[in-house]
């Protein structure tokens, strides 16, 4: 009989005041007892709606049942059948709109804590589990980019026996998982462990090679002997607002700010990475990246961090848990507010952000109510640093050097339902196709592409 308590076991977290000064992981994770107790809340219902909400189709009730029986290793194997990066997904997936959003228990209370259980299982079994190396099928596949879509695709291909090489432009593998998502939300060691698992499966990872520059996609196929290519190069190009003052000193794209903090380790006390550690910071945008940037700024010593967002709290695109964490840590939300100018001091360092108030009008194409400027509502927020987190667009390096590769009007690679691009043998997925989205959607695409690549190679 399932445990019928209406609430899920709370996630133990570090105290808000303490954690706002440290880059230690905020969510501590379930212990064994809590995990087993939470697993017993699952009804193991017939329809398994949770599974349909999972972009990589993990057999959720099956793994939860194993947790309830304390067979953690078996639970891990069930997850790994479908997901290459369980310790990552358990931390950064927006479960409330996916698996947990469909959970039957959510109708009359809180859903089962699926994400928390996934994380527990992954952390409990990571490094202890036997890794199977498949016999080679003689097919060579190149994966461009070592972010979530690329790593997933590489893992799935390795499982099928392909000889996989992942090319990464930066000096450390992991893509957005290492340059973007901060340590306190996704410890770098977790990503490293997941990558080590892939390497143990036979995946080769080559850093500091920029496809589109060092080698072209055509080089990979014609000269380097690859039978197929997966492009998971992400949405790397930061967008700016186009308002006056954006090139003042102290204005960062979220990409630059987070890269300096995470990849270049400005968060470490003795770091030599240059970064402006402002006391007053404004972050523009309302997504996960904006939350990450705001919370990093706080941890670098800011006393006052504002998130400026042009719609209302209910439209914030960030994960609910991240918004809650940010509020708890003392981040201030200036909602229904839009920056119109960044003002500099006499030395051209940022001094303030001039904003206008907005109100919500008629719904726009996205179905959300369009924010409209309130006349005469201008005001200033004092700030020494401004971080722009209003999204990114796909990087054109590959498109520009690959004849025959079609892109849409937003620069995203065009793919069919099997993730194949307009070029034979070349597949793509993740933000390079969709524009900025989530880790798990990129993983879903990487997984589907791997399946299609295997079918394609079998036909060759």
């Amino acid at each position: 009989m399932a445990d019928m308590s209406p609430k899920k076991h709370p996630m133990p977290t570090l105290d808000a005041k303490e954690r706002a000064k440290s880059f230690k992981e905020v969510a501590v994770g379930y212990d064994r007892e809590t995990a087993v107790a939470e697993a017993k809340r699952c009804l193991n219902c017939k329809h398994k709606p949770c599974t349909q909400g999972c972009p990589v189709s993990i057999d959720i009730p099956a793994f939860i049942e194993k947790v309830a029986q304390e067979k953690f290793e078996e639970a891990y194997q069930i997850i790994r059948q479908s997901s290459t990066l369980p310790a990552v997904c358990g931390r950064v997936c927006p479960q409330e709109t996916q698996c947990e959003g469909r959970c039957v228990r959510g109708i009359k209370g809180e859903s089962v804590g699926i994400g928390r259980l996934e994380r527990f299982v992954a952390d409990y079994c990571s490094g202890k589990s036997e890794i199977e190396v498949k016999e080679s099928n003689g097919k060579k596949v190149a994966v461009i980019g070592s972010g979530p879509s690329g790593l997933t695709c590489a893992g799935e291909l390795a499982k099928a026996g392909c000889d996989v090489t992942v090319f990464e432009a930066l000096h450390i593998a992991g893509g957005v998982l290492v340059y973007g998502i901060p340590e306190f939300r996704l410890p770098k060691q977790i990503v490293k462990n997941e990558i080590e698992t892939l390497k143990a499966m036979g995946v080769k990872i080559v850093t500091n090679v920029i496809i589109g520059k060092s080698l072209s996609v055509d080089d990979l196929i014609q000269n380097e002997g690859f039978d197929a290519v997966f492009i998971g190069s992400g949405a790397g190009l930061p967008r700016f607002m186009g308002i006056p003052g954006e090139n003042l000193k102290g204005v960062y794209s979220a990409n630059e700010f987070l890269t300096r903090v995470n990849l270049m380790k400005a968060y470490e006390e003795d770091s030599r990475t240059p970064i402006i550690k402002a006391k007053k910071v404004c972050v523009v945008g309302g997504g996960n990246v904006a939350m990450d940037a705001a919370r990093c700024a706080l941890r670098l010593g800011a006393e006052n961090v504002h998130i400026i967002y042009r719609r209302s709290m209910s439209e914030l695109p960030a994960r609910a848990e991240e918004v809650e964490n940010a509020i708890e840590e003392g981040i201030e939300f200036d909602i229904l507010t839009n920056p119109v100018e960044i003002i500099g001091d006499e030395n051209n360092f940022v001094k303030a952000v001039k904003c206008v108030k907005m109100e919500l009008g008629e719904p726009d194409a996205s179905g959300r109510r369009r924010p409209v400027e309130v006349e005469g509502s201008e005001f200033e927020i004092s700030a020494e640093s401004v971080i722009i987190a209003i999204g990114t667009s796909p990087n054109p390096l590959i498109k520009n050097t690959t004849p025959g590769l079609s892109v849409n009007s937003r620069g995203g690679l065009v793919v069919d339902e099997s993730e194949m691009t307009s070029k034979q043998g070349v597949y793509a997925g993740g933000d390079a196709v969709t524009g900025a989205a989530t880790v798990i959607l990129a993983m879903g695409a990487g997984k589907l592409a791997a399946k299609s690549i295997i079918e394609y190679l079998n036909k060759q």
């Binding site: 500091n208 920029i210 930061p238 090139n247 000193k249 794209s253 630059e256 240059p274 990087n395």
Partner: protein
Amino acid sequence: MHKIISKEKLNDTVVKMTVEAPYVAKKAEPGQFVIVCASPDSERIPLTIADYNREEQSITIIFQTVGSSTMMLSEKQEGDYLEAVAGPLGKASELDGLKKVAVIGGGVGCAIAYPVAKKLHGNGAVVHTVTGFRTKELVILQKEFEAVSDKYVLMSDDGSCGKKGLVTNALEELIASGEEYDAVYAIGPLIMMKFVCDVTKKYGIKTIVSMNPIMIDGTGMCGGCRLTVGGETKFACVDGPEFDGHLIDFDEAMDRSRMYGDFEKHAREEACNLLHKEVQ
């Protein structure tokens, strides 16, 4: 990992290194740059490719020790390995079709101007080179430039070598003497490029400059290298590094280059003290 094939000190602070970099050497063109990491945990530094050898699969970089990262790089010796040499990045110089060009190099910027002069010379263009240095001890690449230039003028701030004066004085003199250029290539400190552009604007000569702003990834990801070019924001790493000098907002670029001035100064002092201690 990239083996250092040779290392040479060009002057007290400028080092020339030739390193193994097969992918880069195969595709490199004048005007492009690489991102270099000396060690696994050192900063990523953008450096222009000064020369390349496709057979030897090597490239040459020339850099000035200005901060802690370049200092770490300069500590590496022949036979040592660099963690990363990634590229070639940025757009290549568009040199085809140019018949007569003035190439202006200032200080360590000569390292970037040289491959341009060499390629132009190879294309059969008439090349007039003007290089400027603060003083005699800082002069680099004189022989190399002389070998690829139809005219070579050396300028120094203090008159200790060549003619006393600025590169702009020499350029104005050349133009006044009736030389007509299809284009001017100016590569050096921002302030030098700004004044060269002021001169050439007067005469309506197309002028190309190479920008080297603060940069992290070199692939368009961070936006830290943004510049205002003709009123639009451009990324030096993917849209450049070469631009029409008459369209660049140099004052903003100079300002942005000083974003971490205090930080660099502090880091340099720290690094110097550290090295000093190690020597003792």
